[in-house]
């Protein structure tokens, strides 16, 4: 198989914004208690940071949590170059949110 086009951003992929990503995640993840999306590409929509809190992560290994979320974002990933994510259970969130910058929690 010869792959001729290496561009991650194909003509068909719609631009991803933090609003669209937030909406998609809220729809697709069960029991999502927190969904914070940060566009780290300066508005380009090519790099995001996610903070996701749901009970669905209880008892699930870190790698599996990430794979779960990535699996839900297969289409969006075609337009995104970098995705950073924090995947926490409600119990972890209680401790972690203390350390987050205030602007993030608004």
């Amino acid at each position: 198989i010869r792959v001729t086009s290496m561009s991650a951003r194909s003509k068909d992929s719609k631009k991803v914004t933090k609003e669209s990503l937030s909406k998609v995640l809220s729809e697709r993840i069960k029991g999502l208690e927190q969904c914070i999306v940060v566009d780290t590409s300066g508005g380009c929509g090519s790099a995001f940071e996610l903070y996701l809190v749901t009970k669905a992560f209880d008892g699930v290994a870190l790698l599996e949590r990430h794979r779960m979320v990535q699996g839900l974002l297969k289409e969006e990933m075609k337009a995104i170059h970098a995705l950073s994510m924090k995947t926490w259970t409600p119990a972890q969130w209680v401790k972690k949110k203390e350390k987050l910058p205030k602007e993030l929690l608004k």
């Binding site: 198989i1 010869r2 792959v3 290496m6 870190l62 790698l63 599996e64 990430h66 794979r67 990535q70 990933m77 995104i80 170059h81 970098a82 995705l83 950073s84 994510m85 924090k86």
Partner: protein
Amino acid sequence: MRVMRGVVRGVVRGIGSTSLRPIAPQLMRALPSLNSSPLRSFSFETHDDFKPQPKQQLELQDIHQLIQQDVKENPLMVYMKGTPNAPQCGFSNQVVQILKHMGYDFRARNVLQDNMLREGVKQFSDWPTIPQVYVDGEFVGGCDIIMEMYKTGELEDLLEGSKAEKIA
């Protein structure tokens, strides 16, 4: 995902029965070089200008084979952007700094040197981003996971119990 992992493990361990077809020498020269941890005093990274120009196109199949070989031969293997001495991305740099700080030897390939490698790496692990860290032939995760595991001490436990060599 489990099937994928099983396949990777199967290939890495079953070397007696499923022998890897050796990669042709002319293709080997075409591939991005295997770089060393910054802790290695004699690590050097060949500039692209000095590498012989490949006559043959690399195929994805070759890349998958290369990765299998990489992770089999190197207990701590990193696919990154840039080189360990000159990372070209914040996430790749974070991983390199963590590994350097922990003192474990590792090998790395620069996915920016070859588009086929970049695509092949993502396909092989079924993971969409770079950097990617493999320990004892098993995919561990990207920057976030490595960082999280480093903070909890899980990474030290993992590396201590692995074949990765502590050199600092």
